[in-house]
């Protein structure tokens, strides 16, 4: 059985890819994931703020109490050199590349156009096989029109693309008025893959302390539907590869995503909850299902249930929504 998957111009041994998460912060865990069968690994994200703000913070703490008192002209010894981000991250890419043989996708996370995008070039030099560019933006300014925001997304992508030769996967928010149009524009701007979708951080409230709570929830199985819908719609309509992410917890979820057209499926919550070894379980279940249903390859099923190829294309659209509402019978 051929489980190989094509993604970003590379042939992966299977379509199971652990996504950017704390799981990839330690080389030992990455090795474990590789041993469990991961087709590639997306490293944890290097954030735009990390590159800009952490350095500012360091400078602040080193300089804010300098030359203040007669007895203490400073409070820290100042080394001649700092290994600032992205330096640490780049070194990590190198070490991961030495440690594993699966493709390593570095992840760069930002929201504005700026010098931080230069980091992509450094990631390429450090040996990353590809870059996942995560444009994570929550616009709260009511004066900023959507067109402006959309244009900035494209500019950021172009800026990164112009600096590197390795492929770029763009991880996206679903909150565009016309997702298909945006997908098309990113495709035109040179995105090698679209990763659908980013899960946005949504705060909670602590009723006792009246604090905003910032813990991140694991994805629920229902989260699967959104990427499933859009991968299904976009398959065959864009040149870029499609990666599905969110709510993929079981082999069945993987299979569904492949069928709607995903090149690869990204795993996160399930591995955080059950550990890296669970990837092997998903892989084995997937193989077993394919055997039982006599599939020869991943390629064979890819896109088979997409809007383009399924027997009911309207299922992806408004008509199906009306049908499903009409078929719903409230409990008596």
């Amino acid at each position: 059985m051929d489980l190989t998957a094509d993604y970003l111009g590379m042939t992966l041994k299977n379509p199971l890819v652990p996504s950017a998460s704390p799981l990839s912060e330690k080389i030992a865990t990455i090795r474990h994931l590789e041993d469990s069968g991961a087709g590639a690994i997306v490293l944890h994200s290097l954030f735009e703020e990390q590159i800009r703000m952490e350095n500012l913070e360091l400078n602040h703490h080193l300089s804010s109490h300098k030359d203040v008192f007669s007895e203490a002209q400073s409070f820290f010894p100042e080394p001649t050199q700092f290994h600032l981000d992205p330096e640490g991250y780049l070194e990590y890419i190198q070490n991961v590349k030495k440690a594993v043989s699966i493709p390593v996708i570095a992840s760069l996370n930002g929201a504005t156009l700026g010098g931080w995008t230069d980091t992509a070039e450094l990631m390429q030099q450090a040996g990353a096989d590809a870059i996942e560019l995560n444009i994570y933006k929550i616009t709260t300014n009511p004066d900023q029109p959507a067109a402006e925001i959309e244009a900035e997304y494209v500019k950021i992508l172009k800026s990164v693309k112009s600096k590197i030769k390795i492929p770029v996967a763009l991880k996206l928010s679903p909150y565009f008025t016309n997702m298909a149009n945006m997908a098309q524009r990113f495709d035109d701007a040179g995105a090698n893959a679209l990763v659908l979708f980013n899960r946005f951080y949504q705060p909670d409230i602590d009723l006792e302390t009246l604090d905003m709570r910032s813990d991140i929830l694991f994805s629920a199985p229902q989260a699967l539907r959104l990427p499933l819908t859009w991968v299904g719609i976009l398959f065959g309509k864009v040149r870029a590869d499609l990666a599905a992410t969110s709510g993929i917890h079981r082999a069945e979820d993987v299979l569904k995503m492949l069928m709607v057209g995903a090149n690869v499926t990204m795993l996160c919550s399930v591995l955080l909850r059950r550990g890296p070894a669970y990837l092997k379980v998903i892989l084995e279940d997937m193989k077993q299902w394919m055997e039982e249903h006599e599939y020869e390859s991943v390629q064979q099923m890819r896109g088979s249930m997409s809007q383009m190829n399924c027997d009911n294309p309207s299922a992806y659209e408004r008509a199906q929504y009306i049908k499903s509402l009409q078929s719903f019978k409230p409990q008596q």
Partner: protein
């Protein structure tokens, strides 16, 4: 060979040579010498090599005594070894110095000479310390400038190897140690040529080695000790010649000529001054000036003070000298004169007695004192002395630079006299410590000094206050070498970087006519004039000054560099002063920004570059022509209601005019009144907390954590509200015990530093707008007057009867009056809330022994001090002895009080028949455990006193003098971790073992905070600190565990930000325990690299991570068969890594040494788990091993 120049200070200059010529360096921080050790440590961490291509071993010791011991050992084992110190540190080295000299061991100790603690501590410069060490047998070589600090460091190293006599190389603390000057750097080749390899080998050959064993340090008896002591004489006889030779050799290599004594001035001088140190430069320049005016004057500069070469000294003195003034920068009370004076006098007298008679007639020799504690020594003073020497009978033991209205020893001088060169450009800058002014000026000096045709000098006067500290920078630039080790009194340029400084300094006093004045102002060129104080307007007019303004904070903010206005003001200085073409200056500034900030990321570079250009765009000249003189006058620094001493003496110091105070106004024994900080309203902040009584739940936490005691709580009867100002806030008290009372939280806004820690801790949120709490930061200026009025009203409200307060409840306890208020500690200080708490609980019966350190500075630094008293006049009595002896000092207080109490009881029993029946027993048997007990005992003592006063018996008189000792006195021994873990640990241990009833409060910041964040044994593993640039490799010492091993010591480990009730309980238990108590109180600090506003959250995370354990070890529980250790387990747990990532001291290691950080963090994590498990075991040992276990952690009844 081309000569390399650099801009450095005296400390770095001396350390530069010391590092290159030694193999082992033992260090210990003490101002002003700490930077020498810091440089050595930093160079070692960077693997900088000495002249033999190897990095010296740099080790921090537990005290200067330890450093001297380590050096002694290193020398004996054959290494070249050195140390750096000052003041009390040098005193602690004296025993070893005798040994090292007695064994003829070559070494050089580099000393930034500083005052000794006498009637008060002073960190500033004079020769008291080196003079106290002059009999050790060391040679003493004194450098007078930054260049000499480097040169003499090498000459001393060379001479010690040749002579075998150990050297103290010293220079004036601060004046030379901290002056930045352009000097010529000694190349390694020159250093090598001055250090003969054969002498190094000879030193090593004398070392202790089992391969050629000898013994050194025998015990000798009356038969031989004396003779053996005399055996070294020839070495001392040759020393001066050797130093002279080394100086000649040095001159050949560098072109700079020195001699053990140097004379400058008229070869036929009649009046001569002899002195040493930086004053030589001032004296020599003044002599040249006076000589040019035809005066026959001269100066002898003493370089080699010990061994004193009489012949050399005589040889440089002109035969024509008729009167000689020998100046000492020290005071030796009770002596016929100060040391240098006596030396010179004896040499001259001997010369006359021996018949060698250099002089036809022995000149009149007088001794004088100058410059104690960095008191200015100016050309005017030098001239004043020379003028005085014209008199027939010049004063013996005169002083210069002060007004002595008691013994009238001071000489008059003209403070306006100036010899400043016309070629020298002089600029003075006034700033706040936190605004980067000094940093910018240091940078400007480097930029200007970089030009080989220019010399530059910078000297910085710092405040001792830790919040709102001011800085004054004095910069000179010119074509010739600048030799002016005194402050600028006539400036071409004055920069005022903070508007508020107008109220503290006479900013324009020293501006020359037609000078330039730059002001950082929120008001633009068209508006600024009308906001200027009247005096400033008048001065600008009188001096015909050119006046410029810039809104530097606006430019800095817009550039993204926050409140650091350094770059902005620096650019303006160059633009206005035209000291170099502005384009060139901007290029240099940009280059220096890239160099300084480049390693910290491009973003910071970009932001500073933006500020450079913004500065030029926003700089404006103000048209002063035709402007009216309509400014407002300054308010007096101290309100007129203050007591006369506070107003007239302390007020003068507050105004920056302490130099003008005469001798007679000062207390003779260093005794000052408490309760003075309230008279100095500093208005340091633009935002202050404001109470919202409708949201408040009256928990008292805001007041509990307030570092400056500005948030106050009172519960009082409603009737007292009569006459309250309209804006005064109050609500019915919520506490069920106080249903009859009214409750107010009042902020003393005049004293607030705006740290915001109160707002951060407040748990009550506004139900309609949760961004607001029960206390919120608001602009200070609009409410200044009303809140001042409210504070005055609040202050006169009665304190609640302490018998109605349950001390164990924070909300009630916070009503107790703090007797520690408005200190000058840092914004958000983590130490002061603990001290304040102790004074609230026990202040009216507290005696405090305070170790030197932050707490003695913010607690005892003039002009005004925070320890205060209540309305009855009772409050903490406070004293600071030394750094190293604080536990013993406090024990002495305990012994003394106990002894007096015992004597009082004895007297009471002796005369019991004359006292009211029942009173005697009640006085003796009162338990004095509660506030009520103490109240009643005080009543009894008053009654007793009344009865005693009627008696004529001697015993009754004696008892009257001791009667107050019948009321409980609570002895508190307070200090930081540098004291408790390191320098004072031996004493602390002994006091713990004494079993006596003392309360020891360790304010544990985990570094030497006061001297700039050097590592102590309390510093946790993996933290970066000075002397631990690569992260501390050893774990933190577990002081609490060590103390627990005695079994009879009450030990508590607290962190108020993590659990305030636990802290309160620990303080109450510690004080109640009749034996030694040790409270180790975690204190966050600016040296941790944290946001001080949210520092209590760091404490919470610290405890949640397990790095800090909250516990109380109560010996009485042990006696009751329970587990004496009560461990408080945090509800929520976080990883050590999560906590460490909150503090720069840990995080920066990951950025400077990622590999080291990785394994140190892992080790720290493992050790933490082990420690937690061990404490769990201790806390449950008896419970787990007993057949019928008692309830876990039941409280002692």
């Amino acid at each position: 060979m081309s000569k390399e120049h650099t801009m450095i200070d005296g400390n770095e200059a001396a350390a530069y040579v010391a590092y290159r010529t030694n193999e082992v360096i033992a260090i210990y921080p003490i101002t002003p010498s700490s930077p020498m050790g810091e440089w050595a440590d930093l160079w070692e961490s960077q693997e900088t090599k000495n002249i033999w291509g190897s990095s010296p071993t740099v080790v921090e010791m537990q005290s200067e005594g330890g450093a001297a011991g380590a050096i002694h050992g290193a020398l004996q084992a054959g290494s070249l070894a050195t140390t750096f110190t000052a003041s009390q540190g040098l005193l602690l080295m004296i025993p070893n110095m005798y040994k090292i000299a007695g064994e003829l061991t070559p070494t050089v100790f580099h000393v930034a000479a500083r005052s000794l603690a006498v009637q008060a501590l002073s960190i500033f410069g004079d020769h008291s310390d080196v003079m106290a060490a002059r009999s050790t047998g060391f040679a003493f070589l004194c450098s007078a400038s930054v260049q000499e600090a480097m040169d003499f460091a090498l000459i001393a190293q060379s001479a010690t190897l040749q002579s075998r006599i150990p050297f103290v190389h010293f220079f004036d603390g601060f004046r030379t140690s901290h002056e930045i000057s352009k000097i010529e750097v000694l190349p390694d080749d020159t250093i090598r040529q001055m250090i003969p390899e054969d002498l190094v080998h000879a030193h090593k050959a004398r070392a202790l080695s089992p391969d050629h064993p000898v013994m050194r340090g025998t015990t000798q008896n009356p038969d031989v000790y004396f003779q053996a002591r005399e055996s070294v004489n020839t070495y001392y006889d040759q020393c001066s010649r050797i130093v002279s030779g080394a100086m000649k050799e040095f001159a050949k290599l560098t072109g700079r000529t020195y001699a053990p004594f140097e004379y400058a001035g008229d070869s036929a001088a009649e009046r001569v001054i002899v002195l040493m140190g930086s004053g030589c430069e001032t004296a020599e320049e003044t002599v040249q000036h006076l000589q040019a005016q035809g005066e026959k004057v001269g100066v002898v500069k003493v370089r080699l003070f010990r061994p004193f070469d009489s012949a050399f000294f005589l040889s440089v003195l002109p035969k024509t000298a008729r009167t000689i003034a020998v100046l000492d920068r020290t005071k030796e009370s009770g002596a016929p004169g100060e040391p240098l004076y006596l030396d010179c006098l004896s040499v001259l007298a001997e010369n006359q007695m021996n018949g060698e008679k250099k002089f036809d007639c022995l000149p009149k020799v007088v001794g004088g004192r100058y410059g104690l504690s960095s008191k200015e020594f100016t050309p005017g003073m030098v001239k004043g002395i020379f003028d005085h020497l014209k008199e027939a009978n010049p004063k013996k033991s005169f002083t210069i630079g002060i007004t002595d209205d008691v013994t009238h020893l001071s000489l008059p001088y003209d403070p306006e006299f100036s010899i400043e060169s016309k070629d020298t450009y002089r600029a003075v800058f006034y700033g706040l410590g936190s605004d980067g002014t000094v940093g910018a000026n240091k940078n400007s000096i480097k930029i200007i000094g970089h030009d080989e045709k220019r010399s530059a000098q910078g000297y910085f006067v710092y405040d001792s206050r830790k919040s709102g500290a001011t800085t004054v920078s004095h910069l000179r630039f010119g074509p010739k070498v600048i030799r002016a080790p005194y402050l600028i009194s006539q400036a071409h340029f004055i920069g005022c970087h903070q508007w508020t400084l107008f109220e503290r300094y006479d900013i324009l006093k020293h501006l020359l006519p037609n000078g330039k004045f730059l002001l950082n102002s929120i008001y633009g060129p068209d508006d600024v004039w009308r906001y200027l104080p009247g005096k400033v307007q008048a001065q600008l007019k009188e001096k015909n000054a050119k006046f410029y303004v810039i809104d530097a904070y606006k430019v800095a903010k817009e550039s993204g560099i926050g409140s650091l206005i350094n770059t902005v003001m620096q650019v303006c200085f160059f633009a206005i002063s035209k000291i170099m073409p502005i384009d060139e200056a901007v290029r240099e500034i940009e280059e220096s920004i890239r160099k300084t900030y480049g390693k910290k990321g491009q973003e910071i570079v970009d932001r500073n570059l933006k500020a450079v250009h913004g500065a030029l765009q926003h700089l404006h000249e103000v048209n002063t022509a035709g402007q009216p003189l309509n400014g407002t006058p300054f308010a007096p620094p101290i309100p007129k209601e203050a007591p006369p001493f506070v107003r007239e003496v302390l007020g003068t110091i507050v105004q920056g005019c302490g130099d003008d105070l005469p001798v007679g106004v000062f207390p003779i024994d260093g005794t000052y009144p408490t309760g003075t900080s309230k008279w100095e309203q500093r208005n340091l902040t633009q935002e202050v907390p404001v109470w919202d009584p409708d949201v408040c739940i009256q928990c008292g936490k805001c007041a509990f954590v307030c570092p400056h005691g500005v948030i106050r709580v009172k519960a009082y009867e409603d009737k007292h509200l009569k006459g309250a100002p309209q804006t005064f806030k109050s609500r019915p008290a919520k506490d069920l015990d106080w249903k009859d009372l009214t409750y107010t939280i009042q902020v003393a806004t005049d004293y607030c530093t705006g740290c915001g820690i109160c707002v951060d801790i407040c748990p009550a949120k506004n139900k309609s707008k949760t961004s607001l709490k029960a206390i919120n930061m608001e602009a200070e200026l609009p409410i200044r007057e009303t809140e001042r009025e409210n504070w005055d009203f609040f202050s006169q409200l009665p304190e609640l009867d302490r018998r109605r307060i349950k001390s164990e409840s924070i909300r009630q306890e916070q009503v107790q009056q703090p007797l520690f208020e408005f200190s000058s500690a840092c914004l958000g200080c983590g130490e002061t809330p603990y001290i304040k708490l102790a004074t609230q609980l026990f202040g009216d019966r507290m005696v405090v022994a305070n170790a030197t350190g932050c707490s003695s500075i913010y607690g005892g630094n003039l002009p005004t001090t925070p320890w205060t008293h209540n309305a009855d006049g009772r409050g903490p009595a406070w004293s600071n002895s030394l750094f190293e002896d604080n536990a013993e000092f406090g024990l002495g207080m305990r012994l003394s009080i106990d002894q007096q109490r015992r004597f009082a009881i004895e007297l009471l029993l002796r005369i019991r028949n004359t006292i009211e029946p029942g009173l005697v027993n009640a006085l003796i048997e009162s338990p004095q455990k509660t506030e009520a007990d103490i109240y009643e005992q005080r009543e009894r003592v008053e009654l007793l006193k009344k009865q005693l006063k009627k008696s004529k018996q001697k015993e009754a008189e004696r008892l009257l003098a001791h009667a107050d000792m019948l009321v409980k006195k609570s002895v508190w021994i307070i200090g930081g971790d540098g004291w408790a873990y390191d320098i004072g640990y031996g004493g602390l241990d002994h006091v713990l073992a004494s079993g006596k009833n003392v309360n020891i409060l360790v304010l544990d910041t985990e570094v030497y905070s006061n001297t700039g964040g050097q590592m102590s044994k309390s510093t946790p593993k993996a933290a970066v600190a000075k002397f631990a640039a690569n992260g501390k490799a050893m774990a933190k010492k577990d002081l609490g565990l060590i103390a627990m091993t005695y079994g009879n010591v009450y030990v508590a480990s607290v962190a108020m930000g993590a659990k305030d009730e636990h802290t309160l309980k620990a303080f109450l238990e510690a004080e109640a325990y009749d034996g030694p108590s040790l409270i180790i109180a975690y204190s966050h600090c600016i040296a941790h690299g944290i946001n001080m506003t949210t520092a209590m959250q760091n404490q919470k995370a610290l405890v949640q991570s397990g790095r800090w354990l909250l516990y109380r070890y109560h010996p009485e529980r042990g006696k009751a068969g329970q587990d004496p250790l009560i461990l408080e387990r945090p509800g929520k747990k976080i990883s050590l890594e999560q906590y460490m990532n909150m503090e720069n001291r840990f995080k920066m290691l990951a950025k400077s040494h990622p590999e080291t950080a990785r394994y140190l963090w892992e080790e720290a994590s493992e050790e933490l788990q082990l420690r937690m498990a061990f404490y769990e075991y201790l806390a449950t040992f008896r419970k787990n091993s007993a057949k019928k276990p008692e309830p876990q952690n039941a409280e002692v009844k």
